[in-house]
Amino acid sequence: MADTPATRVAVRTAVAANERADALGDGVLAGAFVALALVFAAVAAASGDTFFFRLATEALILAGVAMAVDLLLGYTGLLSLGHALFFGFGAYVSALVLKHWSPSFWAAIGVTFAAAALLGVVAGFIAIRARGVYFALITFGLAQVVFKAVYNTRELGGSDGIIGIPQIRVEFGLFSVQASSPLGFFLVTLVFVMLLYAALAWLMRTPFGRLLVAIRANESARALPGILALARQAGGLRDRGRGRRALRQPVPHAARPGVAGAAGLPDIGQRRDHGHPRRRRHLVGALYGAVILTGLKSVIGTWTEHHLIIIGALFMLSVIFLPKGFAGYVLPRLRRRFAPGAGKPGEGA
């Protein structure tokens, strides 16, 4: 194709159309996610269930972690094996705030947000020098050091973790939600996770977001260390909202399945692209991935105690056969259906 003004305009139009179609596809999936969650909440509330509420709440919280991993892996191509570190850190900070300082949801979430962002900067500063597998290993090593350190610190409850975290009430000014109420807590979590999703989706559309993608597409962007530092800070920032977990008991053991979870979730969701800047990633896949995986684990776990064999096999199959994951599989099909004609240019990416 000759590089004439006309072709340039044509390409730009096609790219813009493609991006709109992508956004539409994501929007449809995200909307469907909320709708499904609300239907579930209605059914579960009507049948007076608690367990499935707790499970679903957990799935949503994991979806938050999965989005965080996805932000790094999906957009910048950095595989963090140490994401459980931020997850556990958030849980511990919010537990400490609630227990020793103030049993306020907003205090916990605010302090956790600030502390996690700070930790993200520190971890980013340490990990910033490493690339590719070295980045994966350094994050893994960091998480191990912190895990062992917490495990050995008796002031933090050592191997028993922190117990006796107060049950709190989430104040929204006009109304409030008791965190111990399964329905209320589920809805609060849903709102927070979807806000997180919306914020990240918006962030990815800003010039900063495009820069993140550019880092992956064009490794020469590495020459801009300041930008990269900013990107890593964002890596820390996405750990906001971890305070929701206040109700649960942080135990160091959590860090281990956490590693598996963090590494596994985005995969079922979606993974890998070939580094084309126009190729958008689908954060929404992380939402579905987390829910599918949590559900699968629970269902298979009741059939057989050897559920890890099945989960592991599914995991491997999805790496081999669905490297783009669930969203990567569904979205092009959705796009073709809802916005015919717009799919083509981006497909070649």
Binding site: D49, S159, I163, Q249, V251, L308
Partner: protein, 389 residues
């Protein structure tokens, strides 16, 4: 308005279900590790409970109702245990919960039981805190706590070797440290001399880096609270280095068990522990229990198996005494309850929900635990330190 009516209708249906449940089976939820480090213990828990339930059902159940167990794998992880306990109470509507192994899980599940206004019992967890400063009105312990085991062991030790020099080696986590601390203070009170202590990481693979310190301290007795596969490594490496000679090794009740004894092999011979049970216990009820257990599962019962077997008879006796499965009535019935187990008569202390039973010093001889001394339950159990109820 319409929704209100539907809710009322639903409530009526549920209420009817509750009434009907009188003839339905009694459901026992068992949250136990079926996978992971403690899977071997979970296996014994399951065998013990399944066997007791079969016996009870063959004789007509509890107050005419069949008993049914529902198992959930807690992966020895308190977070998972909480989730599974919640599921059992809410979805399966179990009447009673048991099976948790690690003390963290028991404490966490206890909170779930309180929230759901049901009762739970542990048959394995040793931590003194469960019936001590972290006691719960909804949690009972039918097995002996760590303090009772060390009391029995100290009694035997000072009789055997007056004012011995003792070296301590424990795994570095809460249970390991508290077990060593409890034994140490009990032993020092009876004149033992402490010559050193080491805390190795949990799942430590090689203990030889600590052997220099042990040799240099020249103890007469080595006390350890490692468990599971850590014991296999620790004791076989001790033997490998020739350190086991002229050294009496003693330890916590969970240190050498039926699960790891075979792997330890000859290195286990001569090991002594304070125990609440031995398959060699010489009474008719135990003889029958051991024979039936072997016939059913092709394996020997251990402490966990027998206590998990016993908890079903504890529950049965309590329900029959209360005439109901109602939580409050049942709790009242359980307090002070006396019941029979293969270990002999047990009494549930009302003040802290800790079972009182006779304790023994047992020695491994040729792959079996032989009883070498007996300590009465009242002497071993120690004071009631629970202040919550």
């Amino acid at each position: 308005m319409k929704t209100l009516k539907i809710c009322a209708a639903l409530a009526a249906v549920f209420a009817a279900g509750q009434v009907q449940a009188q003839g339905a089976p009694i459901k026992i939820g068992v949250v136990t590790p079926l996978t992971g480090t403690y899977a071997g213990i979970g296996q014994q828990v399951k065998w013990g409970i399944d066997m007791a339930i079969k016996e009870i059902n063959d004789k007509g159940g509890i107050m005419g109702r069949k008993v049914e167990a529902i198992y959930e794998d807690e992966e020895a992880n308190p977070n998972v245990a909480v989730q599974k306990a919640e599921k059992l109470f809410q979805v399966s509507k179990v009447d009673f919960l048991t099976g948790t192994v690690n003390s963290g899980s028991t404490l966490a599940v206890g909170q779930v039981a309180e929230r759901n206004q049901r009762l739970a019992a542990t048959t394995v967890s040793f931590s003194d805190a469960i019936t001590g400063d972290k006691c719960s009105p909804n949690v009972f312990r039918v097995n002996a706590k760590a303090g009772m085991q060390s009391a029995a062991l100290v009694e035997w030790m000072v009789k055997e070797k007056p004012s011995p020099s003792v070296f301590y080696l424990g795994p570095d986590y809460e249970m390991g440290r508290s077990t060593v601390a409890a034994f140490k203070s009990a032993a020092e009170k009876r004149g033992a001399k402490s010559v050193g202590e080491v805390f190795a990481p949990l799942d430590n693979k090689d203990y030889s880096p600590f052997f220099g310190q042990i040799r240099a301290a020249r103890p007469q007795v080595l006390y350890t609270s490692v468990a599971g596969n850590d014991t296999v490594r620790f004791m076989s490496q001790l033997a490998e280095f020739g350190l086991a000679k002229n050294l009496q090794i003693v330890g916590a009740a969970g240190t050498v068990t039926a699960q790891n004894m075979k792997a330890i092999g000859k290195a286990a011979d001569g090991y002594v522990t304070g125990a609440a049970y031995s398959a060699e216990l010489d009474n008719p009820a135990n003889k029958k229990f051991v024979a039936d257990f072997k016939a059913a599962w092709k394996a020997d019962p251990d402490l966990y198996g027998v206590d998990s077997y016993g908890v079903m008879y504890f529950y049965k006796a309590a329900v029959e005494k209360a005439g109901s499965t109602d939580t409050d009535k049942l709790r009242t019935a359980m307090r002070g309850l006396e019941w029979q187990t293969p270990q002999g008569k047990k009494t549930m202390r009302a003040g802290d929900h800790q079972a009182i039973q006779d304790m023994y010093a047992v020695k491994v001889t040729g792959g079996k635990f032989q009883i070498i001394a007996k300590v009465p339950g009242e002497a071993a159990v120690g004071p009631d330190t629970c202040t919550r109820f």
